[in-house]
């Protein structure tokens, strides 16, 4: 297992290196001069040249990339063109907001999708099954920003139960964090829940018709035991991947929702960085998201190997 983890970590490092290269090259293709944008109306040629030299932008590309990598290895991702603050600090500051939103949304989605998907499959054709189908259809076809706006109008406007937007850190005040995270998390979570419900339902349905389930029934096991021990243990293995993909994509920040709810996470940061052509920050954000993605994948592979004895780790 240790060797498996080590190998996967090394693989991830290589992928991450590739990500830095791709992001670096892509940014060269984006039109617009970041230094010019940063200077705005205060433009004068001397300052311009000085700033370019300070950012290393007057060097040839390979040199720029090598120097970026060298610094990145020591945790130095450069400074923001806009504020002059270190990128690593800016990016890490935004992490808790995105992390807490993503995790809350996924937990909410799991709480809805597991019971709904399982019951829909076990009682396929029943009222619950139909309700689950309508729910999934609704969740995947209604745009999340529209759901978010409706949520704000209802719960913040009409009922006044929740704040319409804003962020309070979990570590500062858990209670107020909860009231602030509720609306964005449910909005994002509903979409995730409808995708998961669909997937769990079809996975459970497939396993229900497996020969080994008939074997378990032939043994005269109680229904509950057949479902829990034989059906779910098998049906939920592929669900792990889907949950992980959902979580990973939410960790990248949900731009529309973060903007709508004034949630200062990675998505919002990316949005602002793009608008301001703040390349170092954009690069840093993409790098962090890629690293999180790889981390989630690594954890899933380890979990998979634990859940499915047919997978041998070497």
């Amino acid at each position: 297992m240790a060797r498996f983890v080590l190998r996967r970590v090394l693989q991830s490092a290589v992928v991450l290196l590739g990500v830095t290269l791709v992001v670096f090259l892509l940014l060269q293709l984006v039109p617009g001069d970041p230094v010019r944008v940063a200077l705005g109306t205060r433009f004068d040629p001397q300052t311009y040249e000085a700033l370019r030299a300070r950012a290393g932008l007057d060097q040839p590309l390979p040199v720029q990339y090598a120097s970026y990598l060298g610094h990145a290895l020591t945790g130095d991702l450069g400074v923001s063109f806009r504020t002059g603050q270190p990128v690593s600090r800016i990016v890490l500051e935004r992490l808790p907001a995105t992390l807490s939103l993503a995790v809350t949304a996924v937990v909410f989605a799991l709480l809805v999708a597991f019971p709904l998907g399982i019951v829909a499959a076990v009682r396929s054709g029943s009222a619950v099954d139909h309700a689950a189908r309508v729910f999934s259809q609704f969740g995947v076809s209604v745009p999340d920003f529209w759901m978010g706006i409706m949520g704000i109008l209802l719960f913040a406007g009409v009922l006044g139960w929740l704040p319409p937007s804003g962020y309070v850190a979990l570590t500062d005040d858990p209670g107020r964090w909860a009231t602030h995270v509720a609306l964005p998390a449910v909005t994002v979570g509903l979409v995730t829940a409808s995708i998961l419900t669909r997937f769990i339902r079809s996975s459970v349905l497939e396993v229900l018709s497996a020969d080994y389930v008939r074997t378990a029934e032939a043994k005269g096991l109680r229904n509950r035991v057949v479902i829990l021990r034989h059906v779910l243990r098998n049906a939920l293995i592929p669900v792990v991947t889907v949950v992980a993909v959902q979580l990973a994509s939410l960790l990248g920040g949900v731009i529309v929702i973060e903007v709508l709810f004034a949630w200062p996470g990675i998505g919002r940061l990316t949005f602002d960085a793009v608008q301001a052509r703040d390349y170092p920050v954009l690069q840093g954000a993409v790098l962090l998201v890629a690293a999180l993605f790889l981390l989630v994948n690594l954890l899933v592979d380890i979990l998979y190997a634990r859940l499915d004895p047919r997978i041998t780790v070497r």
Partner: protein
């Protein structure tokens, strides 16, 4: 520990008791199974009656789709949800068809063991085999997890799995097909059932392994005195191990009787065709060789004799319109045709 001693004593004393008993372990009376499908009701089983006694082997043969599996599943309460089952089924002293699902489930687990066709798919891939072998015993005999594990080793050993103590925690994918079928047999025997139902248990295996599995079940039956229902395409196996045989065609039994009688004096044109189609009666591992034509669809069973379109005798137009009755032609030997023993 005391549990185990008791059990092994019990096992030695049971067979003699069972062999002397004359009442059927399972009796099926006028069983019909109709499955609702998108294209209308499918008459998978259209009224069959048979029984099997302790220590006896009852073989069910017939072409694919003739209703063999459905008969057994419906008799034990395992028919699919879309199926309607009528008729009477008695397991030991209980009228299964009159019982609520939960009682039937417990009786089935306690008294009936199943071996299904494909050992590659009939075991749960993510549960250690030992656990699968004895979970029925945990449920129905109240064995503790610990006692169950010991019992699993004992059972795996009984069915001839080498180094059972080491392999009890292995997973199905770590076994070959033949070994998996041994695991399934061990599983079927976990509660020392009165009845073992084997639905084409060797079809998915290679010829050598087939012979070993047949021998294993025959040997276990000798030792444990279990009643066995064996579904097969292999007439060689029927001749070798069965006491009674029933030939199914189009959801009905067309000929039934002691194996010797049926093999020596096959009376239904279908049975005769089956036996004639065997190239060499001493050879095992032959599937039923095709008879020209196709069996009837259960969606559209003919009103008369189901074999009529393919029957080489077909002496009379009434075969097409009237259902021939089951007629006795010998001691316990019955046949469903208007023209017993007729040759074309």
């Amino acid at each position: 520990m005391s549990d185990r001693t008791e059990r092994s004593e019990g096992r030695e004393s049971v067979p003699s008791q069972r062999r002397t008993s004359d009442r059927p372990v399972l009796s099926v009376e006028d069983l019909t199974v109709t499955v609702g499908t998108r294209r209308g009701p499918a008459h998978a089983v259209a009224g069959v009656s048979w029984q099997v006694r302790a220590g006896e082997t009852f073989a069910l043969v017939g072409e694919s789709g003739s209703g063999k599996s459905m008969t057994l599943l419906a008799a034990t309460g395992l028919a699919p949800r879309a199926a309607t089952v009528t008729g009477r089924v008695r397991l030991l002293d209980s009228e299964l068809t009159a019982l609520p699902d939960d009682r039937r489930r417990r009786l089935r687990g306690r008294h009936v063991g199943f071996v299904f066709q494909d050992p590659m798919t009939s075991l749960n891939p993510v549960l250690p085999v030992g656990r699968q072998v004895t979970e029925a015993a945990e449920e129905h005999l109240g064995l503790s997890r610990r006692a169950a594990r010991d019992r699993a080793v004992e059972l795996l050993d009984l069915v001839g799995i080498p180094s059972a103590a080491r392999r009890v925690d292995a997973y199905p994918h770590q076994f070959s097909g033949g070994m998996r079928q041994r695991v399934v047999i061990a599983m079927a025997l976990a509660c020392e059932p009165d009845l073992l139902i084997a639905d084409e248990p060797t079809t998915a295996l290679d010829v050598t392994t087939q012979a070993q599995i047949v021998e294993l079940v025959a040997d276990l039956q000798q030792r444990l005195g279990t009643a066995v229902v064996w579904v097969t395409h292999d007439l060689g196996v029927v001749a070798g191990i069965a006491d009674t045989v029933a030939v199914m065609y189009g959801g009905r039994i067309v000929e039934q009787g002691p194996v010797d009688a049926v093999f020596d004096t096959p009376t239904h044109p279908y049975t005769r065709a089956l036996l004639a189609a065997r190239p060499d009666p001493s050879r095992r591992g032959e599937d039923l060789v095709a008879i020209p034509g196709a069996p009837p669809s259960p969606l559209d069973l003919p009103p008369g004799c189901a074999f009529w379109p393919r029957c080489p005798v077909r002496a009379d137009p009434r075969c097409a319109h009237e259902l021939p009755p089951l007629t006795p032609v010998g001691d316990g030997h019955t046949v469903r045709t208007f023209y017993p023993g007729e040759t074309p």
